[in-house]
């Protein structure tokens, strides 16, 4: 069962606890602690909020975060992978239009052995809006069996939209797997043409392709009704 919270400033999971938490309004600061062998699934919808999230993970703990970011605002996720064998995922979608400005910042610290992190961030930016993705992974000296991955992909829906990506990888250990990538582009013309040759008008073809691009992130959500509802909100955003 999912719990709905609003503006939580603290979220503490005791060892062995499992929770699914949905937040649709965010506080300025949120502190999350996931105890040893505890598991937290955390879905957040931010409509123009500013929020700094700090997460601390215990031994063999897992944290699974999906954030949908609509409109202006600054969101940051600082994760301390403190317990051996813990897993931290932070996926996000952002959708901006008009004159909106957004910043997505992540800072993941692999402070224990056998820790794994995953980040998939995808955005669609229209109008004169501007987004900055600032993604960080730190792997300190002597840490062993670390596995980190960070992917950022953005679609520019207008000529005046802007996206800046600043990946920061600091790797001081040897026993490490760490993949990262960032790509910023426009809708694929061949795909648009293909859809249009089947009678779909250009505006709708653009909507279909944009949603398909962003849905890769939402598809991992375990609450289908929420996934569909948030997918619809993103679609409305990209429509303007």
């Amino acid at each position: 069962m999912a719990e709905h919270l609003e503006k939580a400033d603290e979220l503490m999971l005791k060892p062995n606890e499992t929770r699914v938490v949905v937040e649709t309004a965010l506080a300025e600061n949120t502190a999350v602690v996931v105890g040893d062998d505890a598991h937290l699934v955390h879905y957040r919808l931010s409509d123009g909020a500013n929020n700094a999230l700090t997460v601390k993970l215990g031994k063999n703990a897992s944290y699974d975060l999906v954030t949908v970011h609509l409109g202006s605002g600054k969101l940051s996720v600082y994760a301390d992978l403190a317990g051996e064998g813990c897993f931290c995922r932070s996926d996000a979608v952002y959708a901006l239009n008009g004159d909106e400005r957004a910043e997505i910042k992540t800072d993941f610290r692999h402070n224990a052995d056998k820790t794994t992190s995953r980040q998939l961030v995808k955005g669609a930016v229209g109008g004169r809006a501007k987004a900055v993705f600032d993604g960080g992974i730190l792997i300190p000296y002597n840490k062993k069996a670390i596995d980190g991955a960070q992917q950022h992909r953005a679609l520019l829906l207008s000529k005046t939209a802007e996206v800046k990506a600043v990946p920061k990888l600091e790797i001081y250990a040897d026993d490490v797997k760490c993949a990262h990538g960032s790509a910023i582009g426009t809708l694929n013309k061949d795909q648009l043409f293909y859809l249009q040759t089947r009678g779909i008008d250009e505006a709708q073809a653009r909507r279909i392709l944009t949603a398909a691009f962003l849905n890769e992130v939402l598809d991992t959500m375990r609450i289908p009704e929420l996934r569909d509802e948030w997918g619809r909100l993103i679609g409305l955003k990209n429509d303007d």
Binding site: K189, D190, Q191, F193, Y194, L195, Q196, T197, R198, G199, I200, D201, E202, Q204, I208, L209, A211, A212, F213, N215, E216
Partner: protein, 254 residues
């Protein structure tokens, strides 16, 4: 409604390079036409220009389709008017399933024709019958459009789209290329099922066996250097098989 396509003195460029240089061709309802020609003669350009591909610029000439000026219509208007291109290299659309894609396309067409959009039940009925006839499984309909399919499956899915959308004029651009013998037969079967007195075909292919046995054209046209240089019946296929395009290329600048 009767299909009627009249192409008159069509010139088209890619960038600054002229590809079609005065092509004329007329096709009546229910007819099956084949276009053959050496590589680079403009066969694929013709099919893309008829669909309104923005990469090509029409510099002169006219195309009338069912009495309408095709060249003033955009890509989706042409599709809704009944023109369908089965792509030589179908495009992958990750994140969109074939059944969702067809639902958008079919409803766009129905809406443009002033018909009510299909609800989920009538839509499923419409596609299930056609999927079964073309050996398309439910799993193939659920997967993203053209992602991870073999060449043969992609061509079969193009035929499926054609069956779902029921166009009046079907352009098949090298539908048989890269397929094994069995897959060519399935592709050919799709065309046989779709043939009707109200529907016309323009088939581009190099495979004379496929054309003879599966397509059985009413007319064959030879395209050289951007123009139709010879019109005939199925007997032209045998001449091309025996002698290639040499006779048709004489007297045309390369």
């Amino acid at each position: 409604m009767s299909a009627w396509l009249e192409i008159t003195d069509l010139h088209a460029n890619v960038g600054d390079k002229p590809i079609l240089k005065g092509l004329s061709l007329s096709i009546n309802a229910g007819e099956v036409h084949v276009i053959m020609g050496p590589n680079g003669s403009g066969k694929s350009t013709l099919s893309n220009v008829l669909c309104g591909d923005p990469r090509y610029e029409v510099t002169a000439g006219a195309v009338a389709f069912k009495g309408r000026d095709l060249l003033t219509m955009n890509v989706e208007e042409r599709a809704r008017a009944g023109i369908f291109l089965a792509f030589q290299n179908p495009i992958e659309i990750p994140g969109v399933s074939m059944s969702t894609f067809m639902k958008y396309a079919l409803n766009a067409k129905r809406k443009a024709a002033g018909l009510k959009e299909y609800d989920a039940v009538s839509f499923m009925k419409h596609i299930k019958i056609r999927a079964q006839a073309l050996e398309i499984t439910d799993e193939m309909l659920k997967r993203p459009v053209n992602v991870g399919f073999s060449g043969g499956e992609k061509k079969r899915l193009e035929t499926f789209q054609m069956a779902v959308l029921e166009p009046d004029f079907c352009i098949l651009d090298e539908m048989d290329s890269g397929l094994d013998v069995d897959a060519v037969k399935v592709a050919g079967n799709g065309v046989k099922i779709m043939r009707s007195p109200e529907r016309s075909f323009l088939v581009i292919s190099h495979n004379i066996g496929f054309l003879h046995e599966q397509i059985r054209p009413d007319y064959v046209h030879i395209l050289v250097n951007g123009r139709v240089v010879e019109n005939g019946g199925a007997e032209l296929l045998d001449e091309v098989r025996a002698n290639g395009f040499a006779r048709f290329q004489k007297g045309t600048a390369a």
